[in-house]
Structures are given as structure tokens and as C-alpha cells.
Symmetry: C2
Subunit: 497 residues, 2 copies
């Protein structure tokens, strides 16, 4: 008996997904356990598999079957899968393989040079490579196509459907609000952050991290936590979620809150329907939605007072010397200390998005040609002055700090802040359905939120676009207001503004 057309397309798509999944294992292994001497062999393996996956994803046979499938009447949610297959196929086909190769080669070299340039604080070393990348990114935008702004094409790659026109007013509103808040807070006395620094043995930090993951609903049968230099989360399959953490023996926040962050990503992956593996109905919607999950857990939940109540006895039991005489309130204030600083990844909840907006503005200007690569350091430092009132003492702690551009990931940064916005808007709805959430969280019962996210978001895969999902879950389009309200309420109380 001949297979249904949909199943034939899915079968091919599943093969590509298997290759992608293996690529993720190769990358996970590279960051966790691979002996360093194997790096060259690993690059060859990843390149080979990525090429194969691309070839499978753009195979004429797949295109033909998909076109046939589109002429038939497919009901929802499969209709959505067809839509997404079409999108992925077209995107992949739009880039000539000569371009893909050139892109891979340019970014691979640039990544190495960036690392050197950052180490030696020499932007000039990196500049010619970044110039090539910006020029290729513009070309990429041309290949992919756009209506209004070339940056739209790049943005859409990471956040389907998003564009400069939608993003600019969102970010403008947010920028005004955030800089105002940061300024007001800057006039207040800083909280006591003594409990954040000291001695936190690695093994104890790990035990605590596992405890929190367990409370979030993780099961070792389908997930694991390892250590790597840069924390990340990758999903090989809904039943195989891999998170990593990096432990600093003199602080507990980076590991603990890093784990809660990656845990948010991990729950999204774990919550995807395994029976839909290999089809868009088994995939995350976008980077922004994915980031909304990690940021919701890390900040809205993790840095809330109720969560501190849950955490406080655990911290006292795990690090008795450190938390001797430290109250829940002191902990809560300490982990929400707002202070303009140089490095994005160490930023607090309020200043974080300002770092993103700065990058968005520079990226957009680079792509539209109104800013030259060599002008980046000046533009960066000027914006740091305006937004934060501080000037980076070096490019290493300024425009060279992030890896993204060297990898060609232009259009990626905005998804971090979109994640914050989606998170607040989703959580606002969650609160109306679970008015007792604070009590629950304070008692360590995190499962109602996980369950709600599963039902509302995770289990649907890519059935809905980000915009559709937002409307469906919250009844409104994406707006900065819920995030602004949330931050206002939280930080007004914390700092008695």
C-alpha cells in the first residue's frame, strides 16, 4: 500500500531531522567531553553532516512531494506543518551552495580571529573579517528577499515574521522606559550583595542545581546536566534534553540561575510532542519563543520573592556559612541588584535589554550601510555612554565582547529581548489562571507552570506562528506593556521608587 503523501514528506523530513539531531550531539560532545586534540576531526564530522542535512533538506524529491502535498486539502494542524516545510525548503533553496560554502568559510575564520582580537583587545584585527561578514549578510538578505529593510530578511531567519517596522517601536518604548528606571535606581542605595560572593564548593552547587531541575519537573530518564565553558541547552529529541552549566567556585548565581535559564529551554524541548519528531509540529516556534521560556523561568519566576522563599532554606542548608543570618529579603534584593555594567551576559534584568537594543541599532545601521565597521567602536562607546552612563575601557569589554557577529549571527540579538517581552505577556496570562502561583512557588511546587506552558505552548510545536501563538495564549498581539508593567511593579517595590 502506498504511503500517504503527507507521510512521505514527513519521512524525508525525519531523515533530515535525524542528521540535525546527530549534529547537535557532535556539538554537545565537543563542549562537554571531547578530548581537545580531536577538534579538527570534529570540524570535519560536523561539516560533513551539516552538508548532508542541507542536501537532504533541499532534495528535489522532497520539493516535488511537498508541491504535490500542497495541492491537496490538508487539515490543521498538518496544514501548519506544510506551511513550515515550505518556508524551510524555500529558505534553504534560496542560498546557492557556493554562497553557503563561502559563508561557512568566512565565519569559521572570523571566529578564530575574533577570539584572538578579543583576547588582545585589537578591534582592527577583527574589522576586515567583520566587513566581509556584513557584506555577505547583505548579500544573504538579497538572496532571501525582503520587502522594506534588508535587516528584515536576517531577522526573519531567527524570528520568523518579525521585522524592523514591528521591532523598532517596541524597542523604542522599552528603551525609554528602561533608561528611566535605571537612572532612578542609580540614585538609590545599593542593596547588600555580600551573600552572593564567597565560597561555594562545586559539588554542592551541582547538587543544588539538580534539586532545582527536579522541582522544575526534569527526569534523568529524558534529560541531563553537564559542565561546559559556556552554558547551553540542546535538544536531540524531546526525550533527550541536554543542558550544561559552568560553575564558579566563588559565586552561586551563575550556575544556579544559568541552570534555571537552560532549564526553561529544556522544558520546551521536553514538552515537544515526541510522536511528531521530524516534522515542524515537533519543533520550537522561534528563538524568541524559546527565549521566552528560559527568561520566564530564570527571571520572572527564578528571581521572584516566592522563589527566594523556596530557595532560601536550600541555600542555607547547602552553604551554611554563607547564608548565616541572611534573610529571604536580603537574598531577594541581592539577586535583583540593578547596576549598569559593561558585559551583556552579566547584566541584571533591567539593563539586559538595553545591551540588546544597543546591538540591534548597530546591526541595523551596519546592514543599511549607515554605519561602517570601522566606526563600530566609537558608536558602541557613545551608546554605552548614553544608555548606561559608562564608557568601556577597552573594545574587549565593549564591541568585541560577544561571539555572535563573528559567527555571522546578525539579526539574532533581538530575539533575546523578544523573549523577555513574550515571557512577561505569557506570564501575565498565566497569573490570571493561577492567582495562587506565588504560594505554590514558595512551597516549591513549580509544576503548575510547567504544565500550563506545555498545554499552551510546547505541545503545539510549530502549529502556530509566534504572532498567532501570542494572540491565542494572551488574547493580544505582542506588546511591551506587560513587560513594562512587570518590571515597574517589581523594581518599584524593590527600590521603593
Amino acid at each position: 500500500m502506498k504511503k500517504e503523501l503527507y507521510d512521505q514528506v514527513w519521512e524525508l523530513s525525519k531523515e533530515t531531522a535525524l542528521m540535525t539531531s546527530v549534529c547537535r550531539l557532535l556539538e554537545w560532545d565537543q563542549e562537554t567531553y571531547m578530548p581537545q586534540g580531536a577538534i579538527e576531526a570534529r570540524s570535519m564530522q560536523v561539516e560533513k553532516l551539516a552538508t548532508l542535512a542541507h542536501k537532504m533538506g533541499t532534495a528535489p524529491k522532497f520539493g516535488k512531494l511537498l508541491a504535490q502535498l500542497e495541492t491537496t486539502d490538508v487539515p490543521m494542524p498538518r496544514k501548519a506543518a506544510v506551511r513550515e516545510w515550505r518556508r524551510d525548503y524555500d529558505l534553504a533553496k534560496k542560498l546557492p551552495s557556493s554562497f553557503v560554502k563561502k559563508w561557512a568559510k568566512t565565519t569559521s575564520t572570523a571566529l578564530h580571529v575574533w577570539s584572538e582580537a578579543k583576547k588582545n583587545d585589537r578591534f582592527k584585527l577583527f574589522a576586515p573579517h567583520l566587513e566581509k561578514i556584513v557584506s555577505l549578510a547583505r548579500k544573504k538578505a538579497d538572496y532571501l528577499g525582503f520587502k522594506d529593510h534588508p535587516y528584515d530578511a536576517l531577522l526573519d531567519n531567527f524570528e520568523p515574521g518579525m521585522n524592523v517596522q514591528t521591532l523598532t517601536p517596541l524597542f523604542e518604548t522599552l528603551k525609554g522606559f528602561l533608561s528611566g528606571m535605571v537612572k532612578k535606581i542609580g540614585e538609590q542605595a545599593a542593596p547588600d550583595t555580600g551573600c552572593l560572593h564567597g565560597e561555594f564548593p562545586s559539588d554542592k552547587q551541582l547538587i543544588l542545581a539538580h534539586e532545582v531541575l527536579k522541582a522544575m519537573g526534569f527526569d534523568p530518564l529524558t534529560s541531563r546536566l553537564d559542565q561546559s565553558v559556556h552554558p547551553f541547552c540542546t535538544g536531540l529529541h524531546p526525550l533527550d534534553t541536554r543542558m550544561t552549566t559552568h560553575i564558579h567556585a566563588d559565586q552561586f548565581v551563575p550556575c544556579l540561575y544559568g541552570v534555571i535559564h537552560e532549564g526553561g529551554h529544556g522544558l520546551y524541548n521536553n514538552g515537544l510532542p515526541p510522536e511528531q519528531f521530524g516534522s515542524p509540529l515537533g519543533e520550537q516556534i522561534s528563538l524568541g519563543i524559546d527565549e521566552s521560556q528560559s527568561r520566564m523561568w530564570e527571571t520572572i519566576v527564578g528571581r521572584s520573592l516566592p522563589f527566594c522563599r523556596f530557595l532560601h532554606p536550600k541555600l542555607r542548608a547547602t552553604f551554611p556559612d554563607q547564608f548565616d543570618g541572611v534573610s529571604v529579603e536580603t537574598l531577594y534584593h541581592a539577586i535583583n541588584h540593578v547596576k549598569p555594567s559593561l558585559i551583556r551576559i552579566h547584566a541584571d534584568e533591567l539593563t539586559y535589554s538595553l545591551h540588546i537594543i544597543l546591538r540591534f541599532e548597530i546591526e541595523k545601521a551596519l546592514i543599511e550601510g549607515s554605519l561602517k565597521v570601522k566606526e563600530i567602536p566609537e558608536a558602541w562607546n557613545e551608546k554605552m555612554g548614553t544608555l548606561f552612563g559608562i564608557t568601556p575601557p577597552s573594545d574587549a569589554t565593549g564591541c568585541l565582547q560577544d561571539i555572535h557577529w563573528s559567527m555571522g549571527a546578525i539579526g539574532y540579538f533581538p530575539t533575546y529581548t523578544l523573549g523577555n517581552l513574550y515571557a512577561a505577556q505569557f506570564f501575565h496570562t498565566f497569573q490570571t489562571h493561577h492567582p495562587d502561583w506565588k504560594d505554590q512557588v514558595a512551597h516549591g511546587n513549580l509544576l503548575p507552570l510547567r504544565e500550563w506552558l506545555r498545554q499552551q505552548i510546547h505541545c503545539h510545536g510549530k502549529t502556530y506562528t509566534a504572532a498567532e501563538l501570542c494572540h491565542r495564549v494572551t488574547g493580544a498581539p505582542l506588546s511591551p506593556q506587560p513587560y513594562i508593567d512587570y518590571l515597574t511593579q517589581k523594581f518599584s517595590t524593590l527600590y521603593t521608587l
Copy 2:
């Protein structure tokens, strides 16, 4: 400029090798860190990659280029690479893909049934599956082709060039010698093995294992040691050797000597020339030669008196309570305790090969049709009686103990004993070049042996066949005599025969 023909073939071969290497990572991960819930997804990944690797290895383009290459004059050692490419290509082409699929399906099911059958001691459950496997193995032999005995085709798959005609007299000689020795030793008093059992904390066992690996010349830059239920060694690349161990908290021998064994395999992998990756000149010769490396390190070196001298102070320092008052000689006698027993993997150096010979005889009879599957338990127990003087109380501890047949690995067992024979013959030559080896080893200097093996064996990849290598290194064809001499000398002294 057009690439040289040899390089074109190598290029394609390297792509296949990369896939195989990724398969090995998938398998390594499955046994070490993979969350158990991911097992189904993992099977799909492995199947997909194995299929791709097979497809690449049998691609018409590869066959055409190889045939062209064979018409040109290729000097050694590349000539050897061409010979091996031809062998692999022909072997892979001989099996129709319908057969390969049937084989994979049958063994996959059989593996699960065997596991159940062993657990419940029910050979009858496994018998119909083993019947299918034996029948498919005979078919496989027909596809692969053979001159004298169908078992030759299966044997040649694991140990190129080996056949029943060569193996039978080797094993007959060995069998006579070993049963005689075992019988004589059985009449002697058993050594004091008290130091082998007690409390050996896992973390301390691991530290000791790493120390020994370091002494063998391992570098964390190119190798690692992890834990798994069944210990193994896999090579992803000469610069990426992965070994595993299984720790029993009440014994130190399984972990320590398991690690030395896997270390022997690991050094072979580490010693292959990385610049030859993807060609036969960068691969191990055969399972027998590979096993010669592991057994040489584990038994001839590891269970020698000089090695005990090296180990003794370490054991005393690591497990002071256990080794209080235990002399080097007591340790040496304890770890060389000869005692007929039921389980192959727990067998001592003398009885081990008898377990193998028993399996060889049964496999050969099954394949030539002189023994039926249902008659295996009786044949097994009868042979156990003759060879060891003991009768298994159950099939679980008898003919159901090994996983091999359920995986279709008929013709594999003999390579274990061939490994012992090669090891003794190689080591005999090593001794003549390094008459001071005992002194060196007693002082923990294991590097001369590693270096000698690298130069004599590892660095050549598949330049020589097993028979050629044996001749080249030892000046003689494979013979049981060096092994018999080695065992005679060792155990005569140990047991004052």
C-alpha cells in the same frame, strides 16, 4: 588542477570514515551519558548513519575510481591501501541490501530476546531466533564466498585471511596444553586471594585507573575514560580514543585490569597515523591484532611480577586497609589464581582460551550443520565437563552467557584467542630487543613497550596483513609455541609444577 586518482578515492573513503566515526560517538554516548528515554531516537540515528555509510562505501562512483586506480602503478604502502579498499568494497557489495536489512532486523530482535532468555534462563525462548541467525549466517557465507569451509567466510569477516584449516591445529595444540596445565594446577593448593575482595571506593579506583593510563602514555588531550555497564574502547579518530570501565566497589581487579585491557586497544587507536585518517593506512589490521594489544597489556605485562612491583605501592597507598601486610608476591599469586569457572569474561589467563575453543567448536559445527541449535545446551555442558570438569547449573551461566550470537557475531570468538597468540609472539620479540623490560616495568616505565608497538605495529595501519605483520615483526608465521612457552614458564613458577 585535477586531484590525483588516489586522493579522489581517499576523499570518498574519508567521507565514509567520518560517518563511521560519528556512529561510534552515537554508540559511545548511548553507553555512557545518553538519557535512557532516548533509546528509540538513538536507534533511528544509528540506523540512518549506518545505512548512509554503507551506501557511501558501495557507491558506484567509488567503485569506478577504485577500478581506475587499480590499473595504475601505485607504490607501497599505498598499494596496500588499494588492496584493502578493494577488499572492503567487494565485501560490502557482495551482500544484497535486502539481506543486510533482514540481517539487521533479525539480530535486533534476537538481541532483545536473548537478553530476556538469559534473565529467565530459558534457552527455548532464544533457540528459534538463533536458528534464524545461523541460517542467515550460512547464507552470508554463501554470499561472501569461501573455498573450503563456510565458517571461513565468517571468520574472514573479523580476521582477514584466517580460516578453519589454519585455526584448527592451532587451537587443538593449545587445547591439549591448556587442559593439561589446568588439571595439574587443580591438584595444587589455591593461593591466598583475600586482598582481591573487600572495600574499594569507586573514586579511588578511578584515580588509580587514571594513574595507570598515564603511565601507559595516555594524554587527556587525545583520550578519555568514562563509566559504562560493559567496558569497551572505541576510536573516533587517532586523536580521540574513548575507553570505559565498570567499577565494582567490592573488587579492584575488574576496573583496574579492565582499564589496562581497554588501554591496550586505546594505544593502538592512538598510535594510528592521524594523517592517514580515512584510508586503510589509518586503520587497525584485524580484531585479532587489536586484541593482541589489549591482552598483551592486560595479561603479559599487567599480570606480571614486575608490574605487581609497580602496582603494589600504589595499591597500598590507595587502599591501605586492604593491603596492610599484603606482599608483592601475594598480590602476584592472587591475580593469577587459576580456577575453572563458568563465565568466560571472569576467566583467568589459562582457562580463558578454553572458553573460546569451546565456542569455536560449537560455532563451526552449527555452520557446517553437524550440530542443531536445540542441541547446543547439551553440547555446551558436555564440553564444559570435558574441558573444565564442571557442569553449568543453568543455561544462563552456560550457553546463554554471551551476547555475541544474538548479534550475529559468529566467527568473532576465535579472534580473542588469536589475540593471545599474537600477543605472546610479539612480546617474545619485544623481550629480545628490551631484555631489561622487567626492570623498566617495575619502575613504572611502560613507555618503551608503547613506543615499540607504535613503531612495529600501530603506525603502519593496514599496510601489512596480519600474517605479513607477524612475519615482519617476529620473523615467523603465527604459532602457538610462544604462547605455550610463556604460559609454561609463568605458571610453572607460580604453581611450582
